[in-house]
């Protein structure tokens, strides 16, 4: 299983995916951190069958809301936040779909963010959601499966 936390540490709530990955590492679970968007993400999951991706999202839901998708299903309608890397996680998944490079199982966790300005301060609701998503992934790892939700 390959677990990938995405985001930008310098942009407040956009760091959510990275902080989930770091939390997992502290628990002794191998997790990748991806900060350069599309091409890197596809590269990181190449060869893996079972993949979990975590990123901050903007969907209009209340801040801190956790959403889970099966990335192999219909194209994502929720866009990842305006990233400084040109192409974000949703684009990576869609590009991989076109190129037949999606892993056979792909679970996406999205944490609704609110602030994306330069800075390290996260919304308290996002900090709580980071713990919850990390907890869910620990469960996924223990069960040695990716729970395909949605």
């Amino acid at each position: 299983m390959v677990i990938i936390g995405c985001g930008n540490r310098q942009r407040s709530d956009d760091a959510a995916g990275i902080l989930v990955a770091e939390k997992l590492r502290k628990l002794g679970i191998k997790a990748e951190i991806c900060t350069r968007g599309c091409a890197e993400l596809i590269e990181v999951w190449t060869g893996a069958k079972d993949v979990i991706v975590v990123d901050a999202v903007v969907s209009g839901a209340p801040v801190g809301t956790i959403r889970a998708w099966n990335g192999r299903e219909a194209p994502l309608s929720v866009r990842t936040p305006p990233s400084t890397h040109g192409l974000g996680v949703a684009e990576a998944i869609e590009l991989a779909r076109v190129l037949d490079r999606l892993p056979s199982r792909l679970q996406v966790y999205g944490i609704e963010g609110q602030r994306f300005e330069l800075g390290a301060e996260l919304s308290p609701e996002v900090i709580a959601a980071i713990d919850e998503v990390a907890g869910k992934i620990v469960g996924d790892v223990r069960a040695e499966r990716t729970p395909l939700t949605g």
């Binding site: 890397h85 040109g86 869609e94 076109v98």
Partner: protein, 434 residues
């Protein structure tokens, strides 16, 4: 729409540029009344972060400004501080730094040529839509970018926000074998880059030439990356320490990024087109041949052709990387020590998007008193507005949607890294009765 009608071209979030920005164009009758490229990311605080920090932290702090060109930031930082402290780096370190830069150019140019810029010429909204019809092209791009990643990862210690560059050299230098392991990938990348030149040369370009002042580094023996004098096609030829005597930054109300101008002249152009036009004679023979075969001879004044020039620079970067791999012998020490002193040092390096200026003033303990950073996109910002003023005038008769799309394309020619300059572009065209 009558000739006297006025309209506004408005792009609220520019796509396929690095960062966030917007464009507002006001047309009154057939006259372009106003052009504002707005960069609304909060002003950058990095210059202030650096004050009171030790100079050894500057390369790692400034590399965080940009996820696409962190190496250029590190390189301008280390060169400026080395200049302040009169540090002479070893020939091996000099080679490694050029190789490091080649890796960044390969990553950045591949991303822009294929994923951000090519969809404009082929009529797709983005690279994903393009990939459906041009799968092999996108596959090639991903592989090419990965070659650049490998170089950056090896020399930087990791792929993003590299941590190995240090004042005086590197914290760790690679073995000869580690570099040789990159050669086969680079041989493939060189071939792919030559194909990229041919492929981009076959695209359709709008007929749009401007009389630009091109500004780039110029070095007596090599295509510029880390060093050289700053030159232009209008007679500028200065030591990089004199940069602030010849260029100034202006605050404009509509943008959080400062506008740079050449004192007494106005906007200027930095980046691949400027480098190519001023340094064509320094390109390796096969890169020059690839350019000429693609119909490129300096001066290239059509900014839309910058996609072909970037491809030529990909060829250069691969040739240069292969040369360095052949010549490299690991240094005895990975870096030379610097002695503290009160001093000021400036440096300019060629980031993928153009010249990147850093200045540091240091105290007797090596602490940074002041720092100044002028990124390439803020230097191009006024030039982009000037282009749009001319280009929008050609588009007044076009339906608004198409005119807007064309203006966005013109901006993307500059590969603006708005996150560097301060951060997507929004475009507004305002038509008013004249």
């Amino acid at each position: 729409m009558t000739g006297r009608a006025s309209k506004t071209i408005r792009v609220d979030t520019l796509a396929r540029v690095e960062g966030e920005g917007s464009l507002y164009i006001k047309l009154v009758g057939e006259r372009v009344a106003d052009v504002k490229l707005k960069i609304y990311e909060p002003p950058r605080f990095f210059e202030a972060f650096l004050r009171g920090r030790h100079y050894s932290e500057a390369p790692d702090i400034t590399s965080r400004i940009c996820g696409i060109c962190p190496i250029a930031y590190q390189m301008s930082a280390v060169h400026a501080i080395e200049r302040a402290l009169s540090v002479q780096i070893t020939p091996a370190v000099r080679l490694l730094r050029r190789l490091f830069f080649c890796g960044e150019w390969i990553e950045s140019h591949t991303l822009h040529v294929y994923m951000l810029h090519a969809p404009d010429f082929l009529g797709y909204p983005d690279a994903i839509a393009m990939a459906k019809d041009h799968r092999a092209v996108v596959e090639k791009a991903l592989r090419l970018k990965k070659v650049g990643n490998r170089i950056v990862q090896l020399l930087g210690g990791r792929e993003i926000h590299p941590i190995s560059a240090a004042v005086g050299g590197f914290y760790k230098t690679p073995s000869k074998q580690q570099l040789c392991d990159l050669a086969a990938d680079l041989e493939w990348a060189l071939e792919a880059s030559v194909e990229t030149v041919k492929w981009t040369a076959g695209l359709d370009f709008p007929n749009f030439e401007q009389d630009y002042e091109f500004v780039a580094l110029r070095h007596p023996d090599e295509y510029p990356l880390n060093e050289g004098r700053l030159a232009s096609n209008r007679g500028l030829d200065i030591d990089t320490a004199e940069y602030e005597d010849h260029f100034m930054e202006l605050h404009v109300k509509h943008s959080n990024a400062l506008h740079s101008v050449v004192r007494g002249r106005g906007s200027y152009f930095v980046g691949p087109l400027a480098r190519f036009n001023l340094n064509f004679d320094k390109l390796p023979e096969s890169a020059r041949r690839a350019a000429i075969d693609a119909g490129l001879r300096p001066p290239v004044k059509n900014v839309f052709r910058s996609i072909v020039v970037r491809a030529v620079e990909l060829v250069f970067a691969c040739i240069e990387a292969l040369r360095i791999i052949r010549e490299y012998e690991p240094p005895v020490a990975s870096r030379v020590e610097a002695r503290n002193r009160i001093a000021v040092g400036q440096a300019i390096t060629e980031a993928p998007r153009g010249v990147l200026y850093h200045r540091y003033a240091l105290d007797e303990d090596g602490m940074i008193l002041t720092a100044k950073i002028v990124p390439p996109t803020s230097q191009n910002q006024k030039r982009i507005e000037d282009d749009l003023r001319e280009y929008a005038a050609q588009l007044v008769a076009w339906p608004l949607e198409e005119a807007t799309w064309k203006c966005e394309q013109a901006i993307r020619c500059y590969d603006p890294c708005i996150s560097c300059a301060t951060h997507f572009l929004k475009l507004v065209v305002d038509r008013e009765k004249g």
